[in-house]
Amino acid sequence: MTDRPDTTSLSADEAEAFEGRLADNIVHFARALRTAGMRVGPGSVVDAIRAVETAGIGEKADFYWVLHSVLVKRHEDHDLFDQAFRLYWRKRALLERLMSQLLPPSPPVPRDDAEEVRSRVAEALLKNEQKPEAPKPKLEIDAKMTLSSQEVLQRKDFEQMSAAEIAQARQMIARMILPFDKVKTRRLEPSPRGRQIDLRRSLRSSIRGGSHGMIDLKRLAPARKHPPLVAICDISGSMTQYSRMFLHFLHALTEARGRVFSFVFGTRLTNITRQLKARDPDEALERCSDIVEDWAGGTRIATCLHAFNRDWSRRVLGQGAVVLLVTDGLERDGREELAFEMDRLHRSCRRLIWLNPLLRYDGFEAKAAGIVTMLPHVDEFRTIHNLNAMADLVHALDARRPGGADPMRWLRGEAA
């Protein structure tokens, strides 16, 4: 934190603001920060008032750092705080403007490509026209699906699903039995067949119990837990529909197992882990689209992977993470750079799984430059275009996996 606000003493305006209603002002300031997206709990506000009382109001710079040390809990929030502080403590009237400035601009709702007429669009239009008319015709696909319609849905490409089918697919994703992918940790826990002896419990039980000179040995074994799962998901134009379904999948995973870190990228990388933690899937996705600014735009894989490697890999890839990279691999950036970043990503995680919806085409061949560059650096290469593929992925994430998505097969096929 090298930049510091100017240390000029308080102006008459500010002095007046401080007088008497300082506590009120701090409360308002905290509320402004909250509106701007920072997490400021009521406890922090009380702390802030206490802290200002403790330190006293001296120079403006001190006041700045006093509030900073109590209200800022994440390095990422520093800039936000800085901006808010400068605006807020200058003049109260600026508050409204401050709020509107700090609120992230609402991104356009992802739309489908106009050229392709999708059943979803048609349906939406039809719905609007029919609405004011007579009693609704009953649609009974949802609740009681026949086996065959369920099977059809399992195989249907996400891109071709109607709104109703998407809703069903989402329910099926939520009901998916999520992978058993626990790995051994270095923490020990009581286990009757463990290899290590738990001296503390053994001794206790030998004194409490009546084993007459015999010590009943208690045992310990390594605890198992889910390794971190990191998803890096392409949300550029061609990937929109797949990414949205995949985000539903990620949301279900986040709910079920924890330790899921999610990122999306188009032209820039955005961390949406916190947003996906909202319990309701719709709300979670809503929050994601609030902070993501490049939905359905272009894609720059190498640049975004570089950003991930530099800013996040050390923070989320510890403790044996598995990475799911979701992209079609159609990259226009330099190949050399892409290979470098892929290699680095591959070396920093335990397993790198590439999910590519292009693989759904029967005649798929690894010919595009981006794909050829990326393939040697992944452990598995899979598709993710329908529910069946998603179920396969769940299967593959299982710790007792059978394997079978060798990426090199595609490169060898090209050579043959």
């Binding site: 330190a55 710079a61 750092w65 006093v66 409490r208 530099r310």
Partner: protein, 308 residues
């Protein structure tokens, strides 16, 4: 209990003076948060890249206040028996055997005997709760990001009440809570619940002037010209797009290494040969070697000349 050690500073300026007395060159933002942490009795959470001097802050604080420094180095799988307490099983076993040989049959009494403080092995967290004649100790919980969530949750409890429950003995509560400093290199996100209980500070790389004073204080034998060039070069290299930018620790190592090599000023060849002291990733070293090092050095020289 009378404290003979220096008092807790009573203002931000006093905190700056205190840190300076222990040769720590701090900026005002750090002094502010430190002062508040001491005054409000809250743990201080320091986050920042590796090698910016987070651990040093706790050490300096202990030294300046004349308190004992208790350090808990975190690692994956750290558990209560290594962090709080453990029983001395060997001694307990012997005690039991002796008692049995003497024909003691009262199991309950034997249990009380064996699980008494005599057989308790205290680990850092428990030690930090014990009273100390010099005043409450400084408890450094280093690299918290290396532990797992389970330990973090446990810590949450200890830090909010400053007490630990040992089932066999009872609850140990600190009469006066220790000064707690937690550091994290951000290899993992720390839960909000823990951060909420602490005062937060992001420790950044120092600016050139501060880094130069640090080098002067810690490597006094380095020639003045060399120190200036080393600091300017490190500052410049941090602006490059590196996988891991060098920390203050690396600057000090480099200044020491160059002094050992009898260098009085930087030159491209020496830089290339000693880059390994400064950069810890092969990709980074490769990028900076040769012409790039020369280019940066020329740039740094020009800057220094312009500054006089």
């Amino acid at each position: 209990m009378a404290d003979q050690s220096p008092e807790i500073p009573q203002s931000i300026d006093a905190t700056l003076t205190l840190l300076a007395s222990a040769d720590y060159v701090a900026d005002r933002s750090l002094a502010t948060v430190l002062y508040l942490a001491l005054k409000m009795g809250r743990p201080l959470f320091l986050e920042g890249e590796a090698g910016v001097g987070k651990t040093e802050i706790a050490k300096v604080l202990a030294k300046a206040l004349g308190r004992r420094l208790i350090r808990l180095q975190c690692y994956e799988g750290l558990d209560v028996s290594s962090a709080v307490y453990e029983w001395n099983y060997a001694a307990q076993m012997i005690e039991i055997r002796v008692a049995e040989a003497e024909g003691v049959v009262d199991r309950a009494r034997l249990g009380e005997d064996v699980f008494s403080e005599r057989f308790l092995v205290k680990r850092p967290l428990l030690e930090a709760l014990e009273p100390d004649t010099a005043g409450p100790p400084v408890l450094l919980i280093d690299e918290l990001d290396r532990t797992d969530e389970a330990f973090e949750a446990f810590l949450l409890e200890v830090l909010s009440d400053f007490q630990v429950t040992i089932p066999e003995i009872g609850t140990v509560t600190a009469a006066r809570p220790p000064i707690v400093v937690i550091t994290s290199n951000r290899t993992r996100e720390i839960h909000d619940a823990l951060k909420r209980r602490c005062l937060y500070h992001w420790v950044d790389y120092p600016d050139a002037a501060r880094e130069l004073s640090i080098v002067k204080a810690k490597v006094p034998e380095a020639p003045q010209k060399l120190s200036r060039e080393v600091v300017a070069f490190v500052q410049a290299i941090r602006r490059e797009d590196l996988f891991k930018a060098p920390g203050v620790a690396e600057t000090l190592d480099w200044a020491t290494a160059l002094t050992e090599l009898n260098a009085v000023a930087l030159d491209a060849a020496t830089i290339s040969d000693t880059l390994g002291v400064l950069l810890k990733y092969q990709d980074d070293i490769q990028r900076m070697q040769g012409s790039k090092a020369k280019e940066l050095l020329d740039q740094v020289r020009a800057e220094l000349r312009a500054a006089g």
